[in-house]
Protein backbone atom coordinates (compact mmCIF):
# COMPACT_ATOMS: atom_id res chain seq x y z
CA UNK A 1 0.00 0.00 0.00
CA UNK A 2 1.18 3.53 -0.70
CA UNK A 3 2.35 5.15 2.54
CA UNK A 4 -0.12 8.00 2.16
CA UNK A 5 -2.97 5.59 1.62
CA UNK A 6 -1.97 3.85 4.83
CA UNK A 7 -1.98 7.15 6.71
CA UNK A 8 -5.38 7.99 5.33
CA UNK A 9 -6.74 4.60 6.36
CA UNK A 10 -5.27 5.04 9.84
CA UNK A 11 -6.76 8.51 10.15
CA UNK A 12 -10.18 7.24 9.11
CA UNK A 13 -9.95 4.42 11.63
CA UNK A 14 -9.08 6.85 14.42
CA UNK A 15 -11.84 9.23 13.37
CA UNK A 16 -14.34 6.39 13.25
CA UNK A 17 -13.33 5.06 16.63
CA UNK A 18 -13.16 8.40 18.44
CA UNK A 19 -16.86 9.05 19.18
CA UNK A 20 -17.39 5.61 20.73
CA UNK A 21 -14.07 5.67 22.58
CA UNK A 22 -14.59 9.08 24.17
CA UNK A 23 -17.50 7.47 26.00
CA UNK A 24 -15.24 5.35 28.17
CA UNK A 25 -14.04 8.02 30.58
CA UNK A 26 -14.76 8.31 34.27
CA UNK A 27 -13.71 10.83 36.88
CA UNK A 28 -10.63 9.42 38.60
CA UNK A 29 -10.78 8.65 42.32
CA UNK A 30 -10.23 12.09 43.85
CA UNK A 31 -10.21 11.14 47.53
CA UNK A 32 -6.64 10.38 48.67
CA UNK A 33 -7.72 8.00 51.46
CA UNK A 34 -9.81 5.94 49.04
CA UNK A 35 -7.04 5.99 46.45
CA UNK A 36 -4.45 4.85 49.00
CA UNK A 37 -6.41 2.17 50.86
CA UNK A 38 -8.26 0.55 47.94
CA UNK A 39 -5.18 1.01 45.78
CA UNK A 40 -3.01 -0.96 48.20
CA UNK A 41 -4.20 -4.28 46.72
CA UNK A 42 -5.81 -3.39 43.41
CA UNK A 43 -6.43 -0.38 41.24
CA UNK A 44 -8.83 1.90 43.11
CA UNK A 45 -11.88 1.33 40.96
CA UNK A 46 -13.96 4.37 40.06
CA UNK A 47 -17.05 4.57 42.29
CA UNK A 48 -19.24 5.23 39.23
CA UNK A 49 -18.97 1.52 38.41
CA UNK A 50 -21.31 0.21 41.10
CA UNK A 51 -24.55 1.39 42.70
CA UNK A 52 -24.32 2.95 46.16
CA UNK A 53 -25.94 -0.08 47.79
CA UNK A 54 -23.15 -2.24 46.37
CA UNK A 55 -20.44 -0.04 47.90
CA UNK A 56 -22.26 -0.08 51.23
CA UNK A 57 -22.43 -3.87 51.15
CA UNK A 58 -18.78 -4.22 50.12
CA UNK A 59 -17.51 -1.84 52.77
CA UNK A 60 -19.61 -3.62 55.37
CA UNK A 61 -17.84 -6.91 54.71
CA UNK A 62 -14.19 -5.98 54.29
CA UNK A 63 -13.06 -8.81 56.57
CA UNK A 64 -14.40 -11.16 53.88
CA UNK A 65 -13.36 -9.24 50.77
CA UNK A 66 -13.37 -11.66 47.81
CA UNK A 67 -11.53 -14.28 49.80
CA UNK A 68 -9.28 -12.03 51.88
CA UNK A 69 -9.39 -9.95 55.02
CA UNK A 70 -9.18 -6.32 53.86
CA UNK A 71 -10.48 -4.82 57.11
CA UNK A 72 -9.87 -1.17 58.03
CA UNK A 73 -10.29 0.82 61.20
CA UNK A 74 -13.85 2.16 61.54
CA UNK A 75 -13.04 5.82 60.82
CA UNK A 76 -11.18 5.02 57.59
CA UNK A 77 -13.89 2.58 56.50
CA UNK A 78 -16.66 5.15 57.09
CA UNK A 79 -14.74 7.86 55.25
CA UNK A 80 -14.24 5.64 52.19
CA UNK A 81 -17.84 4.38 52.26
CA UNK A 82 -19.11 7.96 52.18
CA UNK A 83 -16.87 8.84 49.23
CA UNK A 84 -17.87 5.74 47.26
CA UNK A 85 -21.61 6.10 47.83
CA UNK A 86 -21.50 9.86 47.12
CA UNK A 87 -19.98 9.12 43.69
CA UNK A 88 -21.72 5.83 42.93
CA UNK A 89 -23.31 4.89 39.59
CA UNK A 90 -26.74 5.94 40.89
CA UNK A 91 -25.65 8.96 42.95
CA UNK A 92 -26.22 11.65 40.34
CA UNK A 93 -29.41 13.10 38.94
CA UNK A 94 -28.92 10.80 35.98
CA UNK A 95 -27.76 7.24 36.58
CA UNK A 96 -24.47 6.22 35.01
CA UNK A 97 -24.16 3.52 32.42
CA UNK A 98 -23.10 0.94 34.98
CA UNK A 99 -26.71 1.02 36.20
CA UNK A 100 -27.92 -0.31 32.84
CA UNK A 101 -29.63 -3.62 33.35
CA UNK A 102 -29.00 -3.65 37.09
CA UNK A 103 -32.33 -4.59 38.64
CA UNK A 104 -33.39 -2.74 41.78
CA UNK A 105 -33.51 -6.07 43.57
CA UNK A 106 -29.85 -6.82 42.82
CA UNK A 107 -26.75 -5.66 44.63
CA UNK A 108 -23.78 -6.65 42.47
CA UNK A 109 -20.59 -6.96 44.51
CA UNK A 110 -18.25 -7.26 41.56
CA UNK A 111 -17.98 -4.64 38.83
CA UNK A 112 -17.32 -7.60 36.52
CA UNK A 113 -20.81 -8.94 37.34
CA UNK A 114 -22.63 -5.86 36.07
CA UNK A 115 -24.45 -6.23 32.74
CA UNK A 116 -22.63 -3.21 31.32
CA UNK A 117 -19.15 -4.56 32.14
CA UNK A 118 -20.06 -7.98 30.77
CA UNK A 119 -21.37 -6.52 27.53
CA UNK A 120 -18.27 -4.36 27.09
CA UNK A 121 -15.87 -7.26 27.56
CA UNK A 122 -17.46 -10.51 26.55
CA UNK A 123 -17.71 -9.88 22.84
CA UNK A 124 -14.37 -8.29 22.13
CA UNK A 125 -12.08 -9.93 24.69
CA UNK A 126 -11.01 -13.47 23.78
CA UNK A 127 -11.22 -16.05 26.56
CA UNK A 128 -7.46 -16.60 26.47
CA UNK A 129 -6.86 -13.01 27.60
CA UNK A 130 -8.31 -13.79 31.04
CA UNK A 131 -5.96 -16.69 31.60
CA UNK A 132 -2.90 -14.79 30.40
CA UNK A 133 -0.49 -14.59 33.35
CA UNK A 134 0.03 -10.89 32.67
CA UNK A 135 -3.68 -10.35 33.37
CA UNK A 136 -4.31 -12.94 36.06
CA UNK A 137 -7.58 -11.44 37.27
CA UNK A 138 -10.57 -9.60 35.87
CA UNK A 139 -9.89 -7.04 38.59
CA UNK A 140 -6.62 -6.15 36.87
CA UNK A 141 -8.01 -3.36 34.65
CA UNK A 142 -4.54 -1.91 34.14
CA UNK A 143 -3.30 -5.01 32.34
CA UNK A 144 -5.24 -3.95 29.24
CA UNK A 145 -6.28 -0.35 30.07
CA UNK A 146 -2.98 1.32 31.02
CA UNK A 147 -4.68 4.61 31.97
CA UNK A 148 -7.57 3.00 33.84
CA UNK A 149 -6.49 4.47 37.16
CA UNK A 150 -7.04 7.89 35.60
CA UNK A 151 -10.51 6.82 34.54
CA UNK A 152 -9.52 6.45 30.90
CA UNK A 153 -10.72 3.22 29.28
CA UNK A 154 -10.52 4.58 25.75
CA UNK A 155 -7.90 2.12 24.57
CA UNK A 156 -10.08 -0.72 23.34
Amino acid sequence: MHPNAFRLAAALLVAGAAPAAADDRYSPVSDPVTAKECGACHMAFQPQMLPGRSWTALMGGLDRHFGEDASLDDATRDHITAYLTDHAADAGWWSGKFMRGVDDSRTPLRITDTPYWIREHMEEVPARAWTDPRVGSKANCLACHPRANRGDYDDD
Partner: protein, 135 residues
Amino acid sequence: MKTPFLTGLVLAALAFQPAARAASLLDGYADAARAADAGFAGFSAGRGRALFAATPGTGKPDTPSCTTCHTADPRAAGRTRAGKAIAPMALSVSPDRYADPAKVEKWFRRNCNSVLGRACTAREKGDFIRFMATQ
Protein backbone atom coordinates in the same frame (compact mmCIF):
# COMPACT_ATOMS: atom_id res chain seq x y z
CA MET B 1 27.33 22.07 75.61
CA LYS B 2 27.96 21.50 71.96
CA THR B 3 28.77 17.80 72.20
CA PRO B 4 25.53 16.58 73.86
CA PHE B 5 23.54 18.55 71.31
CA LEU B 6 25.40 16.97 68.43
CA THR B 7 25.11 13.54 70.00
CA GLY B 8 21.40 14.11 70.34
CA LEU B 9 21.19 15.15 66.73
CA VAL B 10 23.05 12.04 65.60
CA LEU B 11 20.86 9.83 67.80
CA ALA B 12 17.72 11.48 66.44
CA ALA B 13 18.93 10.95 62.89
CA LEU B 14 19.70 7.31 63.68
CA ALA B 15 16.24 6.84 65.17
CA PHE B 16 14.75 7.73 61.81
CA GLN B 17 16.82 5.18 59.96
CA PRO B 18 14.54 2.41 58.64
CA ALA B 19 16.47 -0.34 60.41
CA ALA B 20 16.28 1.57 63.69
CA ARG B 21 12.53 2.01 63.32
CA ALA B 22 12.09 -1.69 62.61
CA ALA B 23 14.18 -2.37 65.73
CA SER B 24 11.95 -0.18 67.89
CA LEU B 25 8.91 -2.01 66.56
CA LEU B 26 10.59 -5.29 67.52
CA ASP B 27 11.18 -3.94 71.04
CA GLY B 28 7.45 -3.42 71.39
CA TYR B 29 6.66 -6.93 70.18
CA ALA B 30 9.32 -8.33 72.55
CA ASP B 31 7.63 -6.63 75.50
CA ALA B 32 4.27 -8.09 74.44
CA ALA B 33 5.77 -11.55 73.86
CA ARG B 34 7.36 -11.48 77.33
CA ALA B 35 4.07 -10.42 78.89
CA ALA B 36 2.33 -13.37 77.19
CA ASP B 37 5.05 -15.89 78.08
CA ALA B 38 7.58 -15.36 80.87
CA GLY B 39 9.82 -17.94 79.19
CA PHE B 40 10.13 -15.84 75.99
CA ALA B 41 13.80 -15.97 74.99
CA GLY B 42 13.93 -13.65 72.00
CA PHE B 43 12.82 -13.72 68.40
CA SER B 44 14.00 -16.27 65.90
CA ALA B 45 14.62 -15.68 62.21
CA GLY B 46 14.31 -19.44 61.69
CA ARG B 47 10.81 -19.52 63.17
CA GLY B 48 9.98 -16.46 61.07
CA ARG B 49 11.17 -18.25 57.94
CA ALA B 50 9.02 -21.27 58.80
CA LEU B 51 5.98 -19.06 59.41
CA PHE B 52 6.50 -17.31 56.07
CA ALA B 53 6.79 -20.58 54.15
CA ALA B 54 4.08 -22.49 56.04
CA THR B 55 0.80 -23.66 54.58
CA PRO B 56 -1.23 -23.95 57.77
CA GLY B 57 -4.54 -24.84 56.12
CA THR B 58 -6.53 -22.90 58.70
CA GLY B 59 -7.07 -19.67 56.80
CA LYS B 60 -9.02 -18.62 53.74
CA PRO B 61 -8.80 -21.00 50.74
CA ASP B 62 -7.50 -18.36 48.32
CA THR B 63 -4.56 -17.45 50.56
CA PRO B 64 -3.06 -20.72 51.83
CA SER B 65 0.36 -19.20 52.57
CA CYS B 66 2.21 -15.87 52.83
CA THR B 67 4.03 -17.04 49.72
CA THR B 68 0.78 -17.16 47.73
CA CYS B 69 1.12 -13.43 47.12
CA HIS B 70 4.68 -12.64 48.29
CA THR B 71 6.36 -15.56 46.44
CA ALA B 72 8.78 -17.88 48.24
CA ASP B 73 11.63 -15.38 47.82
CA PRO B 74 11.40 -12.45 50.27
CA ARG B 75 13.71 -10.44 48.02
CA ALA B 76 11.38 -10.79 45.03
CA ALA B 77 8.35 -8.62 44.29
CA GLY B 78 5.02 -10.28 44.94
CA ARG B 79 1.65 -9.88 43.33
CA THR B 80 -1.81 -9.51 44.82
CA ARG B 81 -4.60 -11.77 43.62
CA ALA B 82 -5.97 -8.73 41.79
CA GLY B 83 -2.71 -8.40 39.85
CA LYS B 84 -0.99 -5.49 41.65
CA ALA B 85 2.73 -5.66 42.37
CA ILE B 86 3.79 -5.97 46.03
CA ALA B 87 7.17 -4.54 47.06
CA PRO B 88 9.53 -7.23 48.36
CA MET B 89 9.26 -8.13 52.05
CA ALA B 90 13.01 -8.27 52.73
CA LEU B 91 14.23 -5.22 54.64
CA SER B 92 17.40 -5.11 52.52
CA VAL B 93 15.34 -4.55 49.36
CA SER B 94 12.47 -2.56 50.87
CA PRO B 95 14.11 -0.47 53.62
CA ASP B 96 10.89 1.46 54.31
CA ARG B 97 9.13 -1.64 55.58
CA TYR B 98 8.45 -2.33 59.28
CA ALA B 99 8.81 1.34 60.13
CA ASP B 100 5.21 2.46 60.64
CA PRO B 101 3.64 0.49 63.53
CA ALA B 102 0.04 1.21 62.45
CA LYS B 103 0.74 -0.01 58.94
CA VAL B 104 2.53 -3.12 60.17
CA GLU B 105 -0.33 -3.93 62.56
CA LYS B 106 -2.91 -3.40 59.80
CA TRP B 107 -1.23 -5.92 57.51
CA PHE B 108 -0.58 -8.48 60.24
CA ARG B 109 -4.25 -8.21 61.23
CA ARG B 110 -5.45 -8.77 57.68
CA ASN B 111 -2.94 -11.29 56.47
CA CYS B 112 -2.69 -13.45 59.61
CA ASN B 113 -6.46 -13.75 59.46
CA SER B 114 -6.38 -14.54 55.73
CA VAL B 115 -3.58 -17.12 55.93
CA LEU B 116 -3.86 -18.52 59.47
CA GLY B 117 -7.51 -17.82 60.22
CA ARG B 118 -6.51 -16.07 63.45
CA ALA B 119 -4.47 -13.16 64.78
CA CYS B 120 -0.71 -13.64 64.97
CA THR B 121 0.92 -13.56 68.39
CA ALA B 122 3.48 -10.90 69.25
CA ARG B 123 6.15 -13.60 69.08
CA GLU B 124 5.10 -14.60 65.56
CA LYS B 125 5.14 -10.96 64.44
CA GLY B 126 8.60 -10.46 65.90
CA ASP B 127 9.90 -13.69 64.39
CA PHE B 128 8.56 -12.64 61.00
CA ILE B 129 10.20 -9.21 61.08
CA ARG B 130 13.44 -10.65 62.48
CA PHE B 131 13.50 -13.06 59.52
CA MET B 132 12.80 -10.29 57.01
CA ALA B 133 15.57 -8.20 58.58
CA THR B 134 18.04 -10.98 57.75
CA GLN B 135 16.95 -11.16 54.12
